[in-house]
Symmetry: C2
Subunit: 215 residues, 2 copies
């Protein structure tokens, strides 16, 4: 499996499979056919078979998928068989929301640091993690292994902080700032642009209204 190129479209669908399989596992389901999974996920059974065939096909004809095995294999593909040290840069509401979200920790994403420029926040602890000042970042990064940094700060400061992080060895950024980061190729950036998601919603709402006005 290692080394095989999987299309970006399939990779984007994997977390959803992972979530459904995890829920099945919690409910005690041991095996599931692609047809049953298709009903639950509202995806065609042939899409499911095609997607899962990318990993050598965990299913057996007429027997279904082994839920636990498939969940664990998809987890490995997604890199969830190890843990990650995550710091959060920007300890406002959004940063604190991420720090408080225990589900991330269950999946192996451990918040090990919180940073902000606002001195009022200094030392306040979120789930036992004290908020540090952003100027301490370079030292912190030299002394601690950090795998992922979440950028939950205004766009005006995002690029500068991203540079500090990358210069000090952080290789993956989870960017919530409403700006594009231009970083060296070895740095992995995943953007969450909430405004853009909201605009998709307003687009679709208006589209629907227009279409139904005309009828």
């Amino acid at each position: 499996m290692e080394g095989k190129e999987i299309s970006r479209a399939v990779v984007k669908r994997l977390p959803r499979y992972y979530r459904y399989l995890g829920e099945l596992l919690e409910s005690g389901v041991e095996r599931i056919s692609s047809n049953e999974l298709s009903d639950q996920m509202q995806v065609t059974a042939s899409q499911i078979r095609q997607d899962l065939n990318n990993f050598g096909g965990f299913g057996q004809q007429g027997y279904g998928y082994n839920v636990k095995y498939l969940h664990s294999e998809i987890g490995k593909i997604l890199g969830l068989d190890r843990s990650y040290n995550v710091i959060i840069v920007g300890a406002g509401n959004l940063g604190q929301a991420l720090a408080n979200y225990v589900q991330f920790e269950k999946k192996g994403f451990l918040v090990t640091g919180l940073f902000d420029v606002n001195p009022v926040l200094q030392g306040i602890a979120v789930r036992g993690i004290p908020i540090r000042m952003s100027e301490e970042l370079p030292t912190f990064l030299k002394e601690n292994q950090v795998d992922i940094a979440a950028l939950t700060l205004p766009k005006a400061n995002a690029r500068e902080m991203a540079d500090v992080l990358v210069e000090n060895g952080v290789r993956a950024l989870w960017n919530f700032a409403h700006t594009d980061l231009h970083l060296p190729e070895h740095v992995i950036v995943e953007n969450v642009h909430l405004s853009e998601s909201l605009m998709q919603l307003s687009y679709n709402l208006n589209r629907y209204n227009q279409q139904h006005k005309k009828q």
Copy 2:
């Protein structure tokens, strides 16, 4: 322009054009060629021309695009030429983060209500909006026009609240709960699954590591 079907891929790119054009406008830029925009956005100029041609082509050969006009037209397509009343269901950190984000209001998304099930939060105001108890939702929805509801609450309660919202006339849901909502076709749902975004990041990080180990 009205009624013309625009592909989902193009629609997904529009908010990014809107953001760049907005920044150009703020910097006082009046005209821009597809080549210059291409440099800034790191998208090919031909992609830009193709995308913007969907709307009848705002550009003139050798003259470039009128930034203000294009920004305003894309805004109209995205439905940003009107305002929306938004309520936030789930007033934890994430819900409060959304309520505090002034940029949404600037784009016409006005937060008009905040709801939670936790009595400790009752009456606490976020940007002047008092947190109400979720049981008040049906009455609130009967008395107030609500266009969009953000669901920032645990997945265990998300489906039930979504049903209450839809039964009381809300037609667009911005779903942050880590579950799929199964709702009537006339309801528009935009999902923001943060865990899935984080898994894309861990996938890409591991992928990169594997590829560079092998070399």
